[in-house]
């Protein structure tokens, strides 16, 4: 009984940690299909695309755990404060299933954890597997996989109320869940409802708020021992204001590492410009058929309709965002000492510094924007400032069936099929004209080259010179279709001291685009359907664990996989036309892993190493290119990368109530060859090829080295934990554009450039963070009441970076085109502002806490 309670307390203590939400939850929402932080331009770059504009930064992190591996079991919550990425892998490298059906979004391969936020009790029951671990639900990716069990009969029976308070992205959380258990007549029900809240006065990051309701219902009917049918439905309608990354200069001027430029005052009230609204109702029907005692068929059908929109302040004149680079003191004076001093203006520098001391200057002045638009109304002109909403909706219909056969002791065979179809809808709407009357559906970057009313400048020739009012679609409007078929199988077998397994998969993917606007620059290939692209892919992997006796074991695994490209990297400029990128082909992944484990009464140890090699990879980005006064769409292909590292996890039991957990990893994740790139600007139809000198660039947004030492103490229903973590080798997402041969030629004013001319990758700050947790369980009215207080970053280290990215702008302006030249532009003047010294960064919260109380009855 005592052990049960201890486990319960431990579980309760661990839960808030594993679901903790910090700054990035609130602010990261970047691009997948590249969103538009339009012309701040720098905000809307490749880097943010990698962070996953559609979701959260959380979407970029793989939540993995394993009961058989101390390292995997612990890193999920121990390093959540820094948004540690398992093996520096993107979320899309891990497969997520629910009752056996895959739920990753095929467009970008990612699973959005935000869709199951606030329903913790419903999603606690899941099976996680490491990349080379046998399982009966998938051929898992190189980041492992998870299968959530959402069957009502598998949920805990009884009531549970949870109340939480925190100073993070949300301030209050309340959850209630109820499970009926399986009744005698074969019915089971489970439901949970949760709410998370923070307003602009209470949220940890200024100018953000959080407003999220979650509900989950699961109803199951069991017929005898053979059949069961379960219907689960859930949704987490959420509205939240997000923050943005910031430069060191902005943090310094605002005296706040969490400086957030995405809000301002309107009529004395705080208003956020970047608000994400999502509603993604999901339905899952599962039929379990126990054919025999050792034979089972699981079939699931999944339906999800996701509505997601993210707003953004945009403009057709001058960038009104407070962190626009021309508003900084360093725009007026080269503070780095590497300029020629000709443009330095110290008075303006000082004047700018003084302006930044005023909060009204360093935040958006909505009143001014409204005033400008109302002035323009008087002369019948278009609004020049507005808030637009980028929509990324999708309708996902998936079907899976898995057959398991334990045909003899220690021998299991599973085979499954997955049919996935997703229609993703991407369009932009006018969310708020900020007092303006209308706006025309015109590509303002083309005005000048073409008349404003010319067909070439129209976003939609079919509607002519169209006035846009609030609620109208404009800019772009298209669907991307993805249809996948996957057949997979795995076989595992115990033989003597060995446990062996082998798994394989084969699949097909087809995709196409369907445009609903006839873009003026691409009148022949933007409206209607594109051609259909087909890919055949598959993989094979195998592994073995050898039990050496006395608790010692070694394990090894190898794999090879062909991965069809994701549709979000497949189109050259999907916002404008139907064209696929050039040289689109399957990515190849070679993977290997070796591990050693000790498990006995007082020690559990896992030591492992891994090596992944990928080639023919693809990536895609868009950003506002200051030099060409247009958006640039870039497709990187033929990417070659290596990922390797060592991982160590130790749990040492010192006494029956005290144990020590030590974790460590040192890894590498980098490009090993320079990459071909094709790019085009949104004001031309010409596709250019170039080479990107990105050899040696590391994966960003995660420390590549981390260690942790924790003490756990349990006695008399008390639980105490103190953990110290140290992070290092944190890189920021690099800017490919700054490493193109053509860019370097202009930068150094020479025709012969190489990878040695490419700038060093920007880095973030690592550092030490101390966390603690204390919990206690009580009996109230014969039912358990648990209280847990989690204290994070006790030493209040605020300068530790959790991610960020380089800006894709040059330190110089360019002047006229050079005819018949590869460089096209030549350098004009050096700027005072040094973009390469001003990467944008996210920082950890300072000291933060979460108090969690729950009561079961």
């Amino acid at each position: 009984m005592k052990i049960k309670h201890l486990l319960l307390v431990f579980a309760i203590a661990a839960t808030p940690l594993s679901h903790a939400q910090t700054t990035k939850t609130a602010d990261v929402d970047s691009l997948g299909t590249v969103g538009h932080e339009l012309m701040d331009d720098s905000d809307f770059t490749f880097t943010e695309s990698q962070l996953g504009e559609n979701d959260d930064l959380t979407a970029d992190v793989i939540r993995i755990t394993s009961n058989s591996n101390v390292y995997l079991n612990q890193i999920g919550w121990a390093w959540s404060g820094i948004w540690f990425k398992y093996r520096a892998l993107d979320n899309s490298c891990s497969d997520t299933y629910m009752n056996g059906v895959q739920v990753n979004n095929p467009e970008n391969g990612r699973f959005s954890y935000s869709t199951i936020g606030g329903m913790n009790d419903a999603v606690r029951n899941r099976e996680d597997v490491s990349p080379f671990e046998a399982n009966n639900f998938s051929f898992s990716g190189i980041g492992g996989g998870s299968n959530y069990n959402l069957r009502a009969s598998q949920m805990p029976a009884g009531h549970k109320v949870t109340l939480s308070g925190a100073n993070r992205s949300y301030t209050l959380r309340g959850m209630y869940s109820y499970g009926s258990g399986l009744s005698k007549d074969g019915w089971a029900f489970f439901g949970t409802v949760g709410y998370r809240w923070a307003n602009m006065q209470t949220a940890a990051v200024k100018g953000t708020f959080y407003n999220s309701l979650s509900f989950f219902l699961s109803l199951q009917k069991v017929w005898g021992e053979k059949h069961s049918l379960n219907l689960a439905a859930w949704a987490s309608p959420t509205e939240r204001a997000t923050a943005g990354a910031t430069t060191d200069e902005a943090s310094w001027l605002a005296n706040d590492y969490l400086y957030n430029p995405n809000w301002g005052y309107q009529n004395g009230e705080k208003r956020a410009s970047r608000v994400i609204t999502n509603f993604e109702p999901s339905f899952l029907l599962t039929w379990d058929y126990n054919i025999k005692e050792n034979m089972k068929l699981t079939t699931s059908a999944f339906l999800k309709w996701a509505e997601y929109k993210s707003t953004n302040l945009y403009y057709s004149g001058t960038n009104p965002k407070p962190d626009y680079w021309k508003r900084f003191p360093s725009y007026y004076y080269n503070v780095w000492g590497n300029g020629n001093g000709q443009n330095d203006d110290f008075d303006a520098f000082w004047s700018s510094y003084e302006k930044w001391q005023d909060e009204r200057y360093r935040q958006i002045n909505f009143d001014e924007l409204y005033f400008a638009n109302t002035q323009l109304n008087k002369i019948g002109a278009d609004a020049i400032y507005w808030i637009e909403a980028r929509h990324n909706d999708h309708l996902m219909t998936n079907l899976s069936s898995t057959y398991d056969w334990n045909f003899s002791k220690g021998q299991k065979w599973s085979v499954g099929v997955q049919l996935l179809s997703t229609r993703s809808s991407h369009y932009k709407t006018m969310d708020d004209l900020l007092g303006g009357q209308y706006f025309h559906n015109t590509n303002t970057h083309l005005v000048g080259d073409y008349q404003q009313t010319a067909a070439e400048a129209m976003y939609d020739v079919n509607h002519g010179y169209q006035r846009i009012v609030e609620g109208d679609r404009f800019g772009y409007d298209y669907n991307i279709w993805n249809q996948d078929v996957k057949l997979w199988t795995s076989f595992s077998m115990d033989k003597g001291i060995q446990h062996n397994y082998i798994a394989g998969r084969i699949g097909g993917r087809r995709m196409w685009r369907e445009g609903f606007m006839c873009n003026g620059l691409f009148q022949n290939n933007s409206y209607g359907k594109s051609g259909i692209a087909h890919f055949l892919d598959g993989g094979l992997k195998m592994g073995s664990t050898i039990n050496l006796g006395k608790g010692h074991a070694i394990s090894a695994g190898v794999g090879y996989e062909l991965k069809a490209p994701k549709s979000y990297v497949a189109f050259m400029c999907p916002e404008m036309n139907n064209d696929y990128v050039q040289n689109l082909r399957n990515e190849k992944v070679v993977s290997a892993e070796l591990g050693y484990a000790i498990s006995n009464k007082w020690l559990r140890l896992n030591l492992g190493g891994y090596y992944y090699y990928t080639h023919d990879g693809n990536d895609w980005q868009q950003f506002f290119n200051d030099d060409s006064h247009s958006f640039t769409y870039n497709s990187l292909n033929g990417i070659k990368k290596e990922y390797y590292g060592v991982e160590l996890g130790i749990r040492l039991r010192i006494t029956s109530s005290l144990d020590v957990v030590a974790l460590g990893t040192y890894s590498e994740a980098k490009y090993i060859e320079n990459t071909n790139v094709y790019w085009m600007n949104s004001n031309t139809t010409q596709i250019n090829s170039d080479i990107c000198y990105n050899k040696g660039m590391r994966e960003g947004g995660t420390p590549l080295a981390a260690v942790s030492l924790g003490l756990n103490y349990r006695i008399k229903r008390w639980y105490l934990n103190v953990t110290g973590n140290y992070y290092d080798r944190m890189y920021l997402y690099y800017s490919p554009n700054m490493r193109y041969a053509s860019t370097l030629k202009i930068r150094y004013n020479k025709d012969d450039v190489s990878e040695y001319d490419a700038p060093q990758q920007a880095r973030g700050n690592g550092g030490f963070m101390l966390d603690a947790s204390i919990g206690r369980q009580f009996q109230v009215a014969h039912h358990p009441l648990s209280i847990n207080l989690q204290l994070c970053n006790l030493t209040n280290r605020r300068n530790i970076t959790t991610g960020g990215y380089e800006q894709s702008r040059s330190n110089y302006s360019v002047k006229e085109r050079v005819e018949n030249s590869e460089t096209q532009f030549v350098k004009d003047k050096e700027r005072n502002y040094q973009f390469d010294k001003n990467p944008k960064k996210f920082y950890t919260l300072g000291f933060n806490f979460m108090l969690n109380v729950n009561y079961r009855f």
């Binding site: 439901g191 809240w197 219902l217 303006a348 400008a372 008087k378 007092g435 005819e819």
Partner: protein, 284 residues
């Protein structure tokens, strides 16, 4: 029963908790009387006119010098040109019934805050006036000459007068009509005003666009100058257009046309600055 209770609790929670935080924001009502631009605390003192101002500082202007205005003078005027067409750069032109003048402001999108027709009350004391190529200009001191003032300085010296304000009455029936261009007029008589030219021919007509940025035409201080001749253009008149102008790609006409623009004067040459495409009357 418990299941029913749960569902009821869920629905109640759903309705009770899901109100939007990001409300529907309305245009602040005060904007019609209290602009979010400029200095709403300014109250006019001794009035002056553009003609009086240019006369008072005529020697400074003609000497291409600059001088700070120290008298407590106030100017009531109307905006006639700005950066709306991306041709006039960091300047606005204003007129009253006596003349026109250029005001240099180191800021973009000024046309959105001060569109054509906007009434302004300007406190001149503390600002500089001078001659830039003999063109009268109000601004700030820059390397000893007249230059653009920072927006932060400008907004302390200007009050936007909206219809309905008591101050609007003082403008009375001020007319800022377009005048026919006359090359024989002096800078003080014509510069800074909206002018109309008719029956004029523009060099490059029939073959080129107004302001190409591909190197085919030499830029003069970052702009393309097209000679205007015939009609009422006189013998030293150019159409001056930035390669960043929204109408830079308009084809030049091959024949006599009419056009409008702000007349500026630079070292003996009249430079006509079209404000937007609508000033180019031949463009349909």
């Amino acid at each position: 029963m418990k299941t029913k209770s749960f569902i009821i609790a869920l629905l109640v929670s759903a309705f009770a908790l899901t109100s939007c935080m990001d409300k529907d924001w309305e245009t602040p009502a005060y904007m019609t009387v209290l602009p979010s631009y400029g200095n709403n605390y300014l109250v006019a003192g001794t009035p002056t006119t553009i003609a009086e101002l240019q006369s008072k500082y005529a020697s400074t202007i003609s000497a291409l010098a600059s001088k700070q205005i120290t008298d407590d003078l106030w100017l009531r005027c109307v905006v006639t040109g700005n950066d709306m067409g991306s041709n006039i750069y960091k300047q606005i032109s204003v007129q009253d019934e006596t003349g026109g003048i250029i005001i240099g402001i180191n800021g973009s999108d000024q046309g959105a805050f001060m569109p054509v027709g906007q009434k302004l009350l300007i406190r001149l004391q503390g600002l500089y006036i001078g001659g830039y190529g003999e063109q009268a200009q109000i601004g700030s001191l820059y390397n000893g000459s007249i230059g653009r003032m920072e927006v932060s300085e400008w907004v302390q010296h200007v009050r936007l007068i909206m219809d309905g304000m008591a101050e609007a009455v003082a403008f009375g029936t001020m007319k800022v009509d377009t005048i026919e261009f006359d090359a024989s007029k002096t800078m003080a008589q014509q510069a800074g005003r909206v002018v109309h030219l008719s029956g004029v021919t523009i060099s490059g007509g029939g073959t080129q666009i107004i302001a190409p940025d591909d190197g085919t035409v030499d830029l003069i201080s970052n702009c393309v100058n097209r000679t205007i001749s015939g009609g009422n253009a006189g013998d030293k008149c150019v159409l001056r257009t930035s390669p960043y102008a929204d109408f830079k790609g308009i084809a030049l006409p091959n024949g006599p046309v009419e056009l409008y623009g702000i007349a500026t004067y630079f070292k003996g040459t009249w430079q006509i600055l079209a404000r937007t495409q609508s000033d180019l009357a031949w463009v349909k």
